[in-house]
């Protein structure tokens, strides 16, 4: 029943899009039939695939850096009220600051190369990773740590066997949200400096037909869904006791 409804939903969506596309024409809204043709062409275009792959690399690097900074920072904030008071105001300020506003000065500071995209990705996603980890660290029950201490667990042991498993769902959620923002800001950064996927989108927008542009949007959607799914799979492998990790619902 659920599957049927979902398929109906998708079919209806495609049908309305097709009718609207035929009505307005390719120049305003290419129908799915022509987008599908473009998509096949895109899949066969080695140069385009290389461009997409090359532009994903800085997003992944930036995402990993953001996790490496954000997770320990969030855990520290969650476990230490003093550090929290010191850092929290800045994190809450930066999380509401649009990365787009920082782009012009970043271009001045690091140029428009590979590291520019990395910097934008880090600056946009690290706050989400930090705050989500913080939420988890704050919720760790004192009693669990006390039990560990009563049995003579060392600091390292307490961290590895009590805090880490308790934090895990939050680390995962943080990584998920961080990844969403990493991909978003990657596209944003590349639109500014007209390179990679952003450059391809820009080039496609010069076409008279919107088919190629929409095909690129579908391709980006695929990348986003795949990345999210992959992260869920990885989490299932790392912590099989945590169920529901691979659900692909938006955070």
């Amino acid at each position: 029943m659920t599957l049927l409804l979902r398929l109906t939903g998708v079919a209806l969506f495609l049908l309305i899009w097709e009718i609207a596309g035929r009505h307005w024409g390719d120049s305003l809204l290419a129908p799915p039939s022509s987008v599908a043709v473009e998509l096949v062409a895109l899949a066969g275009d080695a140069a385009a695939l290389t461009t997409i792959w090359v532009s994903l690399a800085p997003a992944l690097v930036g995402f990993v850096i953001a996790c490496c900074i954000g997770m320990p920072l969030g855990a520290l904030m969650g476990r230490s009220p003093v550090w929290n008071a010191l850092i929290h105001p800045w994190v809450s300020l930066f999380v509401v600051t649009s990365v787009a506003a920082i782009v012009p000065i970043l271009i001045l500071l690091v140029g428009t190369g590979w590291w520019f995209v990395v910097a934008v990705v880090v600056l946009s996603s690290v706050w989400y990773v930090t705050l989500t980890t913080y939420q988890g660290a704050v919720r760790i029950d004192r009693r669990w740590l006390d039990v560990g201490r009563s049995f003579g667990a060392s600091r390292l042991q307490a961290f590895r066997t009590i805090m880490l498993p308790a934090l895990f769902p939050y680390l995962l959620a943080g990584a998920r949200i961080g990844l969403v923002h990493a991909i978003r800001s990657m596209v944003l950064a590349q639109l500014f400096i007209v390179s990679g996927i952003g450059g391809m989108l820009n080039e496609a927008s010069m076409d008279i037909s919107t088919a190629r542009m929409l095909a690129l949007l579908v391709a980006i959607m695929g990348i986003g869904l795949l990345a999210n799914h992959g992260l869920g799979r990885l989490a299932d492998g790392l912590a099989p006791w945590q169920t529901g990790g691979s659900a692909s619902t938006p955070p």
Binding site: W90, A100, R184, L188, F192
Partner: protein, 247 residues
Amino acid sequence: MIGTRFIAVLSVVAGLAVWELIGRLSPPVLFSPASAAFSYLWHQTVTMALPVAIGGSLATLAAGFALSAVVALPVGFAMGRVYWVREMLHPILTGIYAIPPAAFIPFLIVWFGLFAHSRIAIVVIMCFFEMLTITATGAATIDRRLLDVARSFSAPRVQMIGSVQVPASLPFLFTALRIGLVRAVAGVITAELLLSPANLGKLLLDSAARFNTAGMLAIIATVALIGLAVQQMLLWVERRVLRWERP
């Protein structure tokens, strides 16, 4: 709690001091001290350039945010409460949600051009799906017991929605509005920078063109403060409306 608040204030002051120090030590084309940024802000306020720009940006923000909220909240609510609506829209929304909002910008330019309409459209795209998803999740997780009580007293459907379901999902609606509003601020700035420069985006790009890092940092700070201010404003409204949520 006074202790931690004191540390927080101290941290902000220390941050400004570090900014000042780095600004003074580095060449002005790379980074400027806080004092220079403040004097830029003061200058722009006196000449009315800044208030006009902020006003223009806020107008775009209000238009785009209102348009999204008017559609996203009812549709999200329906998605959360009605099984077939949820299941039919779910795969499509999951897909669209996976597309970075910025990627729609070239497409929106084709439709709406480079000026005010397009800016509003970008704001809508940036905050619509966020609000829709949160509202739908909230509406789907209303406490069953509340609904059961209403049903036991055989409340009519209108009353059921009006006096049970809507108040019960208000906390989520506010969260949706708050996160949507912050995303909308990001949308305004993105639009003002990527389309034909306007308002705050224009001030930022003008500063960038002259390597005026003081001006750029000042505008970034303004944008950050606008984001923080709108968020706090909604939190304040939320606390007034949702008196029953906290003692």
